[in-house]
Amino acid sequence: MTSTQVNGNVPAFLNENPKDRIVVLGVPLPLLERVGLFVLLAAVVVLPMVYDGYDIYEFGKILMYMLAVLGLNLLTGFNGQFSLGHSAFFAVGAYSTAIMMDQLGMPYWTTIIPAAAVCFVAGFLFGLPALRLDGLFLALATFALAIATPQLLKYDGIAHLTGGVQGIVLDTPYPPAWIDSIVMSITGEELSVDRWKYMFTAFVAVIMFAGAWNLVHSRTGRALIAIRDNPLSAKTMGINLAMFKSSAFGVSAMYTGVAGSLFAIMDEYLAPESFTFAEAIKFLVGGVVGGIASLFGAIFGGWFVLEIPNIADLVASSLADYINNPQGLTGLIYGLFLIFTVYVMPMGAAGLVQILVHRISTKR
């Protein structure tokens, strides 16, 4: 037996993290990453203590969009399957929650898990025929789904459930009494609904983000990436392509669907016009500007798709002194922002961070 045989000794290189050797401004990269994660989590917790009203509602929206972008990224970034139809799963999640609240009288917080299950099944089932479609053809099939969704939601036959064109007005998601009393005893103030909406959204988002992180860094995640990189070879390694690809569709739909649930809860209202093809494109834009196959990139993506249109609007309004009716330029300015963004960071925000770290770091 040679010395290289397995003797229960683990080769030294296994526990070496190549990142240990990268030093950014005197700080080892893994430490920097840990601090960054801590700051991010702290921000999520601290935000509702600082902000209230519309501001905190916007932060909740960012996290909601982050989940939707994350869902699409799991499918497209990690598994290599295109979807232009994720607005449909966003709608399935939102309407599941709304119908459970409206028709069954279920409290808003009990609807998340059943809605997630419904979206997983919907995504999985859509993923089955999608197995036969590749690249552009899959994009077309999902596009059809996106186009059909608002129409279906307006359909008379199910209008008693969906509210048809009118949509559904939902109950306000008040915080549970026990949370209210805890907050009251600490701060002496009543917890506002806006702050509570954010806290609820953040709670769901952080748990789901952690789940996605675990999934991506596991046997399952490796199988998904293997299928993206080389399907034939993945099959030979014993990976069941049909099972993994349709499950990836299911999980992806579940993430985007839960974002839809949170959307319905936060806005207390939903209507078919919120679930058009434009929404699906928003998720795609979020995924690309954040960084394909990057989980943290989805946070930036969520912020981008929510805030950049607003910023574009502001810029357009500020031109009022020079141009008549500058609101018409909002789309143009948004487009310029988008072009500028992909020009400056062709690998998305996550790629830009990597490049910057590479630039200012030294190797030991």
């Binding site: 290289t4 080769p11 296994l14 293997a226 080389n230 070879s233 390694m237 014993g238 392509l241």
Partner: protein
């Protein structure tokens, strides 16, 4: 009669009107290296793809440890103990060497979407065991220095060794190697020959070597099968096959 670990029986493959394999039969004795040779277009790769179930023969049977493999879907082939490497590298180019080898262990591990998302304790243990096993293989094939490097940028010869490590990670009893010598220089070739023999001797793996490089096949094979125009033309020890007039004719022509 002792049957081999793999029995190929009267396998026939037709593509439209072209007969790519015409009734090929041979057996592979357990724990041996078998070389499969033949001129270009002889049907080697077709046979190889039948063995890894990427093609289904029109006729005949392929039995692994006495059981037909033809009713197993391709992704079960690794499960039952057959691993393979590819002629043109088929690595997962965005992953590191370690991750590639760990994907090789896919069929030997069980964690699923749910247990992975929740990071259950048993799946953490499974993951750690797989990491250690993969690291041992990487060490075995001398890839320790590049374990955490993305495979896409590695030299060709190194990538070939990563493929071998990845194939071994599924703990195969039978290893199918499609032209492993292609593109290697003289030193790398010699090393490859040693590694294949080591895999046979130390791990008890049976190896089917589909190869153009006569020197390699003849020096390490226990048995050689030669095919030409989809038919088996010779079978025996390397010496027997090398001196078979049929084989000489197939490679050099009938001589005018």
């Amino acid at each position: 009669m002792s049957t081999g670990i793999l029995e190929v029986e009267d396998v026939q493959v037709r593509f439209g009107g072209i007969v790519a394999l015409d009734g090929v039969s041979f057996t592979m004795p357990e724990g041996k290296i078998v070389g499969l040779i033949g001129p270009n277009g002889a049907g080697k790769t077709t046979l190889f793809n039948c063995l890894s179930r990427l093609y289904i023969p029109n006729d005949g049977d392929i039995r692994f440890k006495g059981k037909t493999i033809l009713d197993s879907p391709p992704h079960h082939i690794a499960d039952i103990g057959i691993g393979r490497t590819f002629q043109n590298l088929a690595l997962f180019s965005t992953m590191t060497v370690l991750e590639n080898v760990m994907v090789g262990g896919h069929s030997a591990t069980r964690s699923d979407f749910m247990s992975n998302a929740l990071r259950l304790p048993w799946r953490r243990r499974e993951e750690q065991a797989l990491r250690e096993r993969s690291a041992a293989l990487i060490d075995y094939l001398g890839l320790g220095d590049v374990a955490h490097t993305t495979v896409g940028g590695l030299p060709f010869g190194t990538q070939k060794r990563v493929e071998l490590a990845r194939a071994l990670a599924s703990e195969p009893e039978l290893l199918l190697m499609d032209e492993p010598a292609g593109g290697l220089n003289h030193d790398e070739l010699e090393e490859l020959g040693n590694v294949i023999q080591q895999i046979r001797d130390e791990r008890g793996v049976t190896v089917l070597l589909v190869e153009h490089h006569m020197g390699l096949v003849m020096s390490i094979s226990d048995k050689v099968v030669a095919i030409d125009f989809g038919k088996k033309i010779s079978e025996g020890t390397p010496e027997e096959v090398q001196n078979d007039p049929e084989v000489i004719r197939a490679y050099l022509g009938t001589g005018g």
